[in-house]
């Protein structure tokens, strides 16, 4: 009955790249996206025209993904201890880097923190990874993410906060824990 299924077609890249972050494997990502579209097709009459079709597709995909995890339980990623605040910026400042004189690009790109973002993201525990992907990569609002994942907005915010910190911690570790390079900061 619905002839406007093509409306959903345009989100295939977004679904695929997120599926790849979740499954970490191209063949699993492709399979996840196919099942997502098959379900979307089967239940297309439940979609309310005029509502956010991208959010609807992501709701289906995250549900399929979580069901699969339950069937094939992967070893649970250890959650980073909550409550330990971490940011690359603070860490470098503590080591004596003149971060206040550097641009964000100088800090992140020049020191090589940007090279392994995907890898770092894929190592995050899944609940945090989902929220970071949905907010930072797919640009969903906190409210949309809460609805997609069926969790509270407060939970979205705390997972996002911990996820971003854990991501920076991974990037910090990959970069070989750069040691402070004492820099003469001006002559005054």
């Amino acid at each position: 009955m619905s002839s406007d299924f093509s409306l959903f077609e345009r989100h295939v890249d977004a679904l695929y790249r997120s599926a790849l972050r979740l499954t970490r494997k191209p063949e699993d990502a492709e399979d996840l996206v196919q099942e997502t579209y098959l379900r979307a097709y089967r239940y297309r009459n439940r979609f309310k025209p005029g509502t956010n079709e991208k959010a609807w597709l992501f709701t289906i995909m995250t549900n399929v993904f979580r069901n699969r995890l339950r069937q094939r339980p992967a070893p649970e990623d250890p959650l980073d201890a909550p409550g330990t605040d971490f940011s690359i910026y603070d860490q470098l400042r503590r080591e004596g880097m003149p971060v206040h004189l550097m641009s964000p690009e100088e800090i992140i790109v020049d020191r090589g923190f940007g090279d392994e973002v995907k890898h770092a993201l894929e190592e995050l525990p899944i609940p945090m990874r989902m929220v970071v992907v949905l907010v930072d990569v797919e640009d969903f609002s906190y409210k949309e993410v809460a609805s997609i994942l069926g969790i509270k907005i407060g939970t979205v915010m705390s997972r996002l906060h911990r996820g971003r910190q854990a991501l920076q911690k991974k990037l910090w570790e990959y970069s070989g824990r750069p040691k402070a390079r004492p820099v003469a900061v001006g002559a005054h």
């Binding site: 295939v12 890249d13 790249r17 579209y37 098959l38 206040h100 641009s103 940007g114």
Partner: protein
């Protein structure tokens, strides 16, 4: 770190993610204009967000998956896999 700094840091994610009320946005903006150390933290965290997006947007769906979805959209689905 003053009260304003602490409050701004608490609201920083919401500010970066455009999730604050207009009143809170004005408050954060005013503080960042006045406080270079907080502004540097803001710039850094905003750049991190941009970086995650940029790095993760490079994987497009394979052509055969795109084609498969297109066939589904024209209501001629084939079995998956």
């Amino acid at each position: 770190m003053g009260d304003h700094c602490e409050q701004t840091m608490r609201n920083l994610s919401g500010y970066i993610d455009r999730e604050l009320s207009d009143a809170d946005v004005r408050q954060v903006k005013a503080h960042l204009d006045d406080c270079p150390p907080c502004d540097k933290v803001f710039e850094f965290q905003a750049e991190m967000k941009r970086l995650v997006r940029k790095e993760c947007c490079t994987d497009d769906a394979p052509a055969r998956l795109r084609e498969w979805v297109r066939q589904l959209a024209t209501e001629k689905p084939k079995p998956a896999g």
